[in-house]
């Protein structure tokens, strides 16, 4: 898993509530092997026409946001299907942080597993940040996981500032260390085996 400590990057505003994983990456691409990369397919149907020609105007295609590493979205980001490809597409396109008022639960979990940091900030604050980013295209935010802060560009006020966010301590530890949780869990073999013996005795019909 990719390690996450800090990220300073251009942030792009995405004014779209209920951004579902079918939009982040349409179902017809899911058979593709992970090794081929999904970055070029991120938000495919919002960025290209049916004939494959580019559909101008999507925020990530504007010159100022082309190299965005942070997305500021709206409520229920990543809702819908469990496809981890949604996280892979974002990461392969260079997005390391998504900030939103709420996330689809499975997307939220999938993000941590891959080293993408999903940050929950209040709905009104996300709206302010998106407005500030719209006024200041190409503005860079700094995300510090250890300190649990999102900070606006130095010297620019205009709606930015420093925001604190909460993060589950276990997930934070895994992200900071880049440690994969399968290895960690496998180190708990004895505990699991003891639990399974008790469980099997209690539910012998399984």
């Amino acid at each position: 898993m990719r390690k996450f400590e800090t990220l300073e990057a251009v942030a792009a505003p995405l004014d779209m509530a209920n951004t579902d994983t079918d939009q982040i990456i349409p179902a017809r691409f899911l058979w593709r092997p992970r090794s081929e990369g999904y970055g070029h397919l991120l938000f495919n149907d919002l960025r290209t026409n049916q004939d494959g020609s580019p559909k101008p105007g999507f925020v990530l295609d504007r010159p100022a946001c082309k190299d965005a590493g942070i997305l500021v979205g709206d409520r229920n980001f990543g809702c819908g299907s469990s496809r981890e490809h949604a996280v892979w597409a974002l990461m392969d396109a260079g997005i390391g942080v998504v900030i939103a008022p709420s996330f689809g639960d499975i997307f939220f979990n999938n993000s941590f597993k891959n080293g993408l940091l999903p940050i929950v900030l209040p709905e009104a604050r996300c709206a302010e940040l998106r407005a500030a980013l719209a006024r200041n295209p190409g503005a860079r935010l700094v995300v510090d996981l250890q300190a649990q802060t999102v900070t606006g560009p130095a010297g620019v006020n205009d709606g930015f500032g420093t925001d604190h966010f909460d993060v589950d301590p276990f997930r934070k530890q895994l992200l900071l260390s880049g440690l994969d949780d399968i290895s960690f869990t496998l180190s708990q073999q004895d505990l699991i085996a003891a639990f399974e013996a008790k469980f099997a005795a209690e539910m012998p019909w399984l």
Binding site: F103, D105, L191
Partner: protein, 470 residues
């Protein structure tokens, strides 16, 4: 006296292997389901050279990529789709996982066959690499969807790290009206609480409407919990549950049945158990529902109109509605019953069980479809049962297609797609932009309402259609 606990809490606690001081909980997975989309989960395991820890607790079936024209493997003409199916066969064989493969009558949509085979049982923690895993909560299981990395984790360790969700009780009290189905109930619930209304929560559905509901109806409701943003949905097990389970192949038999039953009877939420949130709806107020937009929360009664974005409470909602209506090609104020329908899909893990097919067949019987309509049973056994009852003849005589089991047009991964611009009346669970194909306009509704739409070529109040017939 012990503290009263909810159904969710009882299952969560029973499956807890470890709670870290920071709150992260390691949960044992009692039963794990896999499908032809689980390839990446197996791949990560292979790359690390790890075995499946409990193949006997893992069950699989191909559903997303299978052809509904024929279950011959050769009928999947695109190599990339065929490989998804054959990879599951190979992985199941290599790891000793039970597989209901193509050609097996028990094959079907993973969320249809779990309950059908009795793999799904009350009191179990179950997961699957698919967001509609909440379906299994209808039997009083705690079941939720996971991603590919989590699938690998479960395969390797039979456990999963989770943070404890909050609990929510959604009660529907009173009797449902004629032709008002469980699908209408869940669409009404989502319209009320919103597509993010259940985020971070496990919903327990309760109230007299659920006590009176069949197991299949409960499966339909729990299935769409994810569309309300919930982690899982569940219904307390009762006599309906036990009657449904008894005798199913993977359900306990003989003396084990009695032992299991004694355990199951202790599962329902204790009187006085506290939920973080409670919502109540009146069953009598629910009408047959149809979605007009691109989120499941965009649902309205068939007697209603397409809403006007100008009346939306916030600017954000106004824009979202306007965008949805532009995509759907609908004008504000249009009667829902005036929306044209170009195509009908009856199927998916939401509505492809025998009761769904009976309900649709009751409408189709003796009538003719005006638009292309496709019926896809949820499993080989559902299909066989429907054929034994002659339902396939009813559909075929009415001009509906009768297909082989699979996910089909719910997500179109197998090539069953809705053309751009077409309005599809669909019994599936997601009306997202592009879900059934690029530019496809999906309207979610019940099987009876879908069949009615096929007959008239527009959204139709099934109650009126059937009253006219009487």
């Amino acid at each position: 006296m012990t503290t009263p606990r909810t159904l969710f809490e009882k299952i969560w606690e029973r499956h807890t292997v470890q709670v870290r001081p920071d709150g992260a909980t390691l949960l044992h997975v009692a039963r794990h389901l896999v499908h032809d989309g689980s390839r990446a989960g197996f791949q990560a395991l292979t790359e690390r050279g790890l075995p499946v820890r409990h193949p006997e607790r893992t069950f699989g079936t191909p559903d997303h990529y299978v052809s509904t024209a024929s279950h011959d493997l050769a009928a999947i003409t695109e190599p990339y789709r065929r490989e998804m199916v054959t990879a599951l066969t190979a992985n199941a064989r290599e790891h000793g996982v039970t597989l209901f493969d193509l050609g097996d009558r028990r094959q079907g949509i993973v969320h249809v066959i779990g309950p059908e085979q009795g793999i799904t049982q009350p009191g179990l923690l179950m997961v699957c690499g698919d967001s509609h895993t909440a379906t299994h909560g209808a039997l009083g299981a705690l079941a939720f969807g996971i991603g590919a990395s989590e699938v690998s984790h479960v395969l390797a360790t039979q456990t999963l790290w989770q943070t404890r969700p909050k609990s929510m009780r959604v009660a529907v009290e009173g009797q449902l009206g004629a032709w008002v189905t469980p699908k209408d109930v869940i669409l009404a619930i989502i319209a009320r609480i919103g597509a993010a209304g259940g985020t971070g929560h496990v919903i327990e559905y309760a109230g007299s409407a659920f006590r009176a509901m069949s197991m299949e109806g409960r499966l339909t409701v729990c299935n769409m919990s994810i569309e309300a943003g919930a982690r899982a949905g569940m219904v307390a097990p009762d006599e309906t549950t036990y009657a449904y389970l008894r005798g199913r192949p993977y359900a306990p038999q003989g003396p084990m049945w009695d032992r299991a039953l004694a355990f199951w009877r202790g599962l329902p939420s204790d009187p006085g158990a506290v939920f973080d949130r409670e919502v109540t709806l009146s069953g009598a107020d629910i009408a047959p529902m149809v979605t007009w937009g691109t989120s499941p929360e965009d649902a309205a009664p068939i007697t209603g109109d397409v809403p006007d974005p100008a009346r939306a409470p916030t600017a954000e909602r106004r824009e979202a509605m306007a965008r949805a209506l532009a995509y759907m090609g609908l004008e504000p104020g249009t009667a829902i019953a005036a929306i044209p329908v170009d195509r009908v899909f009856i199927g998916s893990c939401t509505n492809s069980r025998i009761e769904d097919l009976r309900s649709a067949a009751a409408i189709a019987r003796g009538r003719k479809a005006l638009v292309p309509a496709m019926v896809v049973a949820g499993s080989g056994l559902v299909k066989a049962q429907a054929e034994a009852e002659g339902l396939h003849t009813v559909f075929l005589e009415a001009g509906f297609e009768w297909r082989e089991p699979g996910c089909s047009m719910c997500v179109g991964m197998n090539g069953d797609l809705v053309a751009a611009g077409e309005h599809c009346a669909s019994t599936s669970n997601r009306n997202f932009v592009g879900r059934q194909g690029r530019g496809a306009r999906t309207h979610l509704l019940s099987p009876a309402m879908a069949a009615a739409a096929a007959i008239t070529g527009r959204m139709t109040d099934v109650r009126q259609l059937m009253a006219g017939a009487a």
